[in-house]
């Protein structure tokens, strides 16, 4: 061991001190008449081993606590080995608690806490509303506080001209996107200013994984030309592996097409998220002020008059907040749940240790008698519990690592940032702290209980009944455990109930026997008039002739979150009220039979027909029921008119259909949308890019008795026969699509249910433990009762009653707690109140039954007590 230099000085002083001791001893001996040599020798002998004395003295110099800690830990390890059963139960309990917390914390950390992987990520912001391209250009050119980016993610690109046509996912970004995000290309370059000007924008940047997998990491890929959506684009760069934005699914980036001449696209149908980087020294509030000043300029620039208070609620928010969105509540609720689970685990282990502490009371008394301070005893016991919890933590970490991969597969794949989640240093630190805190938390109660040993009493009588304090404490812990379990089980009950409601909610259409498939020709394929229409007519005819196919239709996006077009509309005779924005209509472009195939009820008027798709046909639409009620309340909507703001001829409403859950199982439309229209798949449909014209990308809905896997091959061959360059993807049942749509709530509910089940099990073990212990303690009393003539059933009732009373108190406390805490998750609930009486009563009964069952086992034991043995017990 090396000492710091001041220690070597102290070391010299110690040597001097010992030398003086030896000298004085020698002098005394000389005075008693011993010879010089003899005196020196016996003084040294009497002193003992000088080196050893120095060593043990040095230990007092300040690193004592380490020494004592090691001593405590060694002792703790020995105690753990000796009580292997208790240790195992405690460690398993802790592993479940700590493991669950570590896994969920990894998620929270990866998704909510860790900064985005960009330079100065905290300077990146987003607008909380989408803007059209034209508005972006105003912001980009006129903002004084922000460098503004527009990005449309998740656009699909067909890569053709190679062997098989493939569907790639890409993002359209404004030219300064990479520069503002602070991202460098791994190879080649990123986009430069001006790369998004029409005519100069035929460029593409590849993601690392696309380059690796699709281009075999070809070092000569730069400068090559790719045919994407029928447009040839030159590869100018490859991004590094760790650049995934906005999502890991993004495989390529192309410049945003900014052509003011395409009025519909530029101002109408291409609403997209706007991001920005705050300029140096600018606060988010200043940016907010800037955005407010830009608002009238943006509105003035629109190709048509916008209501004066459009975008009045637009705010600048941190990018991270914008990306994470409503996943936040889900994760925090789960984190809360595992936190509660850990509390229960702690209470359980504390109880276990309390029970053991009772049997160790004599040991503690002895230690106190030997001069151990109370603090020293507390520390000793805390070291034991911390060692226990650190073991739990280490194993918990392993559990969490596996748990995390399970979590990742359970959670919806589109959860933002899920790919970034991993067990890393931060999580290690978290688990370490958590373990130590846990150890202190559950070690404290037994330690304080044990250190309050009344020396005289314990040593004198070996009395075991001096533990009433501990018993009260352990009952309190069990009551707490039951209460927390009640909260968790109620939470799980509410979530499962709302999941049930969600799965059984009426989405507005019938999913039975419907197989869906996405067919995606290039958008340029549709530019020639009528070509796409002919293609789809032929395709649907081909599909209908397949075996076991009853009906087939096409739509530009499925309900429950499929893609759609938005049309800022004029509604005839409708004055936009003050404070409202221009009516935003969601447009479903459908082939004639869509409404019928999907089983969407036609409430009024007529369905769309083939005749409506002709180029010279009158422009007609169907509207949804709530659209009719909103714009023509109390009037007959048939024959009324509406139109896109930037086009002239009116569209006539010919039919009203039932509302459909277009956005999710909980709401029909996103909040900013005002209504829904169905337009026939023909030249007058709005495809997003052209002023008018059908979208290229349609999803087929096919009513058939066959499974998607059997159907896929046939469908692919029909498509290939018509056009070899058209990919077919996402062949699945509509039921599968619905299941995906509620995968978020389902994963939250199932995780919560697992935690609640664990809580319930731990709670039951807790009740069992305390009642068993109390039976063991009361053996003598029970023996007396039986000897005095108590019937065995009475003993059974006595013990079970004890458990039931504990449970009732816990349940009462838990119900109150649940009333308060479930409010926090009310935004996750659907069709069930946070104070749902049925759930509360059911859970209360469940917990009481479980508690009675848990106390029944020790009660049986009590019933069989032999009074003769029992009276000898102490």
């Amino acid at each position: 061991m090396r000492f710091p230099f001041w220690r070597s000085k102290r070391q010299k002083q110690l040597e001097q001190e010992i030398e003086s001791h030896l000298q004085m001893a020698k002098r005394d001996r000389l005075d008693h008449g011993e010879s010089e040599q003899q005196a020196a020798r016996s003084a040294r002998r009497e002193f003992g081993n000088v080196a050893l004395v120095e060593h043990v003295t040095r230990d007092q110099w300040g690193w004592v606590w380490i020494e004592e800690l090691m001593q405590d830990l060694r002792y703790a390890a020995r105690m753990m080995r000796r009580n292997l059963g208790v240790t195992l139960v405690a460690v398993v309990t802790l592993v479940s608690g700590i493991g669950a917390n570590t896994a969920i914390f990894s998620l929270v950390d990866g998704v909510l806490l860790r900064p985005l992987p960009f330079r100065d990520a905290n300077r990146l912001v987003a607008m909380n509303a989408d803007y059209p391209k034209g508005a972006f250009v105003v912001m980009r050119d006129q903002s004084r506080t922000m460098d503004v980016i527009a990005i449309r993610d998740g656009s699909a690109f067909n890569l053709t001209g190679r062997d098989l046509p493939v569907r790639l996912t890409g993002a359209e970004v404004s030219a300064s996107f990479f520069k503002i995000m602070g991202a460098q290309a791994a190879m080649g370059r990123t986009f430069q200013d001006g790369d998004d000007q029409p005519g100069k924008d035929d460029l593409v940047i590849l993601s690392h994984s696309l380059w690796e997998h699709r281009f075999g990491s070809d070092p000569n890929v730069l400068g090559r030309t790719l045919l994407l959506e029928g447009v040839s684009r030159t590869v100018v760069g490859v991004m590094p592996t760790d650049f995934r934005f906005l999502s890991p699914k993004t495989e390529l980036w192309v410049p945003l097409d900014l052509d003011p001449r395409q009025i519909g696209d530029y101002w109408g149908s291409s609403y997209m998220p706007i991001l920005a980087r705050l300029r140096p020294g600018i606060t988010i509030d200043q940016a907010q002020g800037d955005l407010a000043e830009l608002r009238p300029k943006i509105l003035a620039a629109f190709a048509w008059r916008m209501p004066d208070n459009s975008y009045i609620k637009s705010r600048v928010i941190p990018l991270q907040e914008a990306i994470v969105g409503d996943v936040r509540t889900n994760l925090l609720v789960l984190l809360g749940a595992v936190g509660l689970l850990l509390l229960i685990a702690c209470a359980n282990v504390a109880n276990l240790l309390l029970a053991r502490a009772t049997t160790r009371q004599k040991e503690m008394a002895l230690r106190a008698a030997l001069g151990a301070s109370r603090w020293r005893i507390v520390r000793q016991l805390i070291s034991e519990s911390v060692l226990l919890s650190v073991c739990g933590g280490a194993l918990g970490l392993v559990t969490a690592k596996y748990g995390l991969s399970i979590l990742k597969s359970v959670l919806p794949a589109d959860m933002p940032r899920l790919a970034d989640v991993s067990v890393d240093t931060r999580v290690l630190v978290f688990t370490g702290l958590l373990s130590v805190l846990t150890g202190i938390l559950f070690g404290l109660a037994p330690a304080v209980g044990a250190s309050k040993v009344d020396l005289t009493k314990s040593l004198k009588t070996g009395d075991r009944s001096g533990t009433s304090g501990n018993t009260a404490l352990s009952r309190l812990l069990v009551v707490g455990e039951v209460a927390v379990s009640v909260v968790l089980v109620i939470g799980a009950g509410l979530l499962v109930k709302s999941l049930w409601n969600l799965s059984n909610a009426n989405p507005g259409f019938h999913a039975e026997y419907i197989v869906t498939a996405r067919v995606t020709p290039n958008q340029s394929f549709c530019e020639m008039a009528g070509r796409c229409q002919t293609f789809y007519n032929d395709l649907l005819a081909g599909v209908r002739s397949l075996p076991e196919v009853k009906e087939a239709a096409g739509v530009n996006g499925l309900p429950l979150g499929g893609g759609f077009e938005v049309i800022p509309s004029d509604v005839e005779g409708f004055a936009i009220p003050a404070g409202a924005h221009v009516p935003m209509m969601m447009e479903r472009v459908v082939t004639a039979d869509y409404v019928r195939v999907m089983g969407i009820p036609l409430l009024k008027g007529r369905d769309l027909t083939e005749a409506d798709t002709a180029p010279n046909a009158e422009r007609v639409v169907l509207i949804s029921k709530s659209t009719a009620e909103r714009y023509w309340p109390g009037k007959d909507p048939i024959g009324q008119h509406l139109k896109p703001r930037w086009l002239d001829p009116w569209w006539t409403v010919v039919g009203v259909v039932g509302d459909v859950r277009e956005d999710s199982m909980t709401r029909n439309l996103e909040e900013w949308l005002d209504g829904e229209i169905y337009t026939p798949y023909g030249p007058h449909a709005i495809a997003g890019r052209g002023p008018e014209g059908p979208p290229a990308d349609l999803t087929l809905v096919v009513r058939t008795g066959r499974a998607p896997s059997q159907f896929a091959g046939d469908l692919q061959s029909v498509v290939s026969r018509l056009n070899g360059d058209v990919p077919v993807t996402q062949i699945e049942t509509l039921h599968g699509w619905i299941a995906d749509a509620i995968s978020g709530p389902r994963s939250t509910a199932s995780l919560f249910a697992v935690f609640a089940a664990l809580a319930l099990a731990l709670g039951a073990i807790g009740v069992y433990g305390v009642i068993s212990y109390s039976v063991a303690q009361r053996t003598r009393e029970i023996g007396i009762r039986i000897a005095m003539g108590a019937r065995r059933e009475e003993v059974l009732y006595l013990i079970v009653g004890q458990g039931a009373r504990l449970a009732l108190v816990g349940v009462a406390a838990g119900l109150l707690g649940a009333l308060a805490l479930t409010q926090l998750m009310s935004s996750l609930l659907y069709g069930v109140g946070a104070a749902d009486p049925a759930t509360y009563i059911g859970v209360a009964l469940l917990l009481v039954v479980v508690a009675i069952a848990a106390s029944y086992v020790p009660a049986r034991r009590a019933m069989r007590v032999d009074p003769v043995v029992a009276l000898r017990y102490e």
Binding site: Q13, L14, Q16, E17, I18, S20, H21, Q23, M24, A25, R27, D28, F47, G48, N49, L52, V53, V56, T57, D59, Q60, W61, G62, V64, A369, L370, G371, A372, L455, T456, L459, K460, T461, G462
Partner: protein
């Protein structure tokens, strides 16, 4: 000498602290002096092991119950002399009352222990 060795009692840790503090009440003393004083005052029964004495002294010093100074002995030798601090005096009082409690307790244990063995 062998006899004396047999009569020796292993000192309990807390007890040695008490003895040191008590001995220092009569005035500052160096390590060797302390061990001699304890031995003499206990009628040669309590032999303080240097391996316990010096760690105890250094620990008590760290706890600020005693303080140490270097002084010259009558033989012109540098010796380290310990004295009781104010905190040490307080500590001594509480140690003494604890000791009284402990010896009562032990006396108590020795007495009813017989009864228990009959049960």
């Amino acid at each position: 000498m062998a006899n004396r060795y047999q009569n020796r009692i292993e000192l309990l840790q807390g007890t040695l602290d008490l003895l040191i503090l008590q001995t220092l009440r009569w005035g500052p003393q160096h390590g060797y002096g302390l061990s001699q004083a304890i031995r003499l005052n206990s009628g040669d029964i309590l032999q303080v092991d240097t391996g316990s004495l010096y760690p105890a002294l250094h620990r008590l010093e760290r706890q600020k119950w005693i303080a140490a100074d270097w002084k010259l002995s009558e033989n012109k030798q540098r010796v380290r002399v310990y004295r009781l601090t104010a905190a040490g005096k307080k500590r001594l009082l509480s140690e003494r009352s604890r000791w009284a409690q402990l010896s009562d307790a032990i006396a108590g244990v020795l007495e009813p222990a017989k009864k228990e063995s009959e049960a």
